[in-house]
């Protein structure tokens, strides 16, 4: 079995096209179930009342904001190491979605903070580093737009992405390393979670929905990127959607 069969734009394009509807539908269904669990099934919080229900938006998008960046860093490392086009295109396609996840995490966090901590914002370690993450995403997108030559842009963005990846463990461990307004981790790989089962279930379902949504959206974006970048090539000209319209 050739593992690298799909590592060229020409072969990955149709595969991605087939996968998008599955991930899109799965994301929609999971989101519906997750929202139902989060808004109707999960019990009221003893301390925060109903305000805590923001968690079903805030935590999944915060997780995704970090995870997407790590995936971008992975593709960036491959792009730099092997000089591959598709790796760079995958990194390029994820940046906008990562930025939007970060924005939703910051916004929902602010609206959760106001009623519970008394403030929309504080310059504590986690919030500041998540804001820096948003600036990193914007910076990567801006850098790509600023560089005319596509392959140079790929390399520059890959370097910037990899330099910025140090921010991810900072965000994640900040609540452990510093005195923080933001609470500590509720879910750990080693200990039992300290929250009600249905709350955890709702968060997990929404996280999966966010992940599948990200795949669907970024695959669609990467297909557009492929056509834009390779429009002079034979395989693009041969595509039915390009030939016939």
């Amino acid at each position: 079995m050739n593992l690298f069969k799909y590592s060229s734009p020409a072969t990955f394009y149709p595969l991605a096209g087939k996968m998008i509807p599955w991930f899109a539908v799965a994301a929609a269904i999971l989101a519906a179930i997750g929202l139902y669990v989060g808004l109707f099934v999960a019990p009221t919080d003893a301390t925060q009342g109903e305000a805590y229900r923001i968690i079903f938006i805030h935590v999944p998008t915060a997780w995704m904001s970090m995870f997407i960046y790590l995936v971008m860093a992975f593709w960036s490392a491959l792009a730099l190491g092997f000089n591959t086009r598709l790796s760079a295109m995958m990194a390029q396609s994820l940046a906008p979605t990562g930025a939007l996840m970060t924005f939703i995490a910051l916004w929902s966090g602010a609206f959760w903070g106001r009623p519970t901590w008394g403030t929309y914002w504080a310059w504590d370690a986690r919030m500041t580093s998540e804001l820096i993450l948003l600036f990193l995403y914007f910076g990567i997108i801006a850098l790509r737009n600023a560089i005319e030559d596509t392959r140079r842009a790929d390399r520059a963005c890959a370097v910037l992405t990899l330099v910025g990846v140090v921010n991810i463990p900072i965000i994640y461990f900040s609540v452990h390393w510093w005195n923080s307004l933001h609470q500590g981790a509720t879910i750990s790989l080693t200990k039992a979670p300290k929250m009600a089962a249905m709350m955890l279930t709702g968060m997990a379902i929404m996280a999966l929905a966010a992940w599948f949504y990200t795949i669907a959206v970024s695959f669609s974006r990467v297909r557009s990127i492929m056509i834009e970048r390779e429009r002079d090539s034979a395989w693009v000209s041969a595509l039915p959607e390009v030939r016939h319209g």
Binding site: G49, E50, I57, H58, T61, R114, S220, I227
Partner: protein, 60 residues
């Protein structure tokens, strides 16, 4: 129903969180679809059939 929207008095914060998330997601989906549409249109314009048609004054 009214209780659901009130969210124990926190309705403003809860619903604005959910609403912005929904708006952003919808905006991204619209944007991605628009990009695909315009990308395909531009790619079609570059195809040889288009040039041939134009060069012969519309007939093929």
């Amino acid at each position: 129903m009214a209780e659901f929207f009130a969210m124990g008095g926190y309705g403003f914060y809860v619903w604005w969180s959910y609403a912005v998330a929904a708006i952003v997601v919808i905006a991204e989906i619209v944007s991605v679809r628009a990009r695909r549409k315009s990308t395909l249109e531009e790619a079609r314009l570059l195809q040889p059939e288009t040039f041939a048609t134009a060069a012969t004054g519309g007939a093929r």
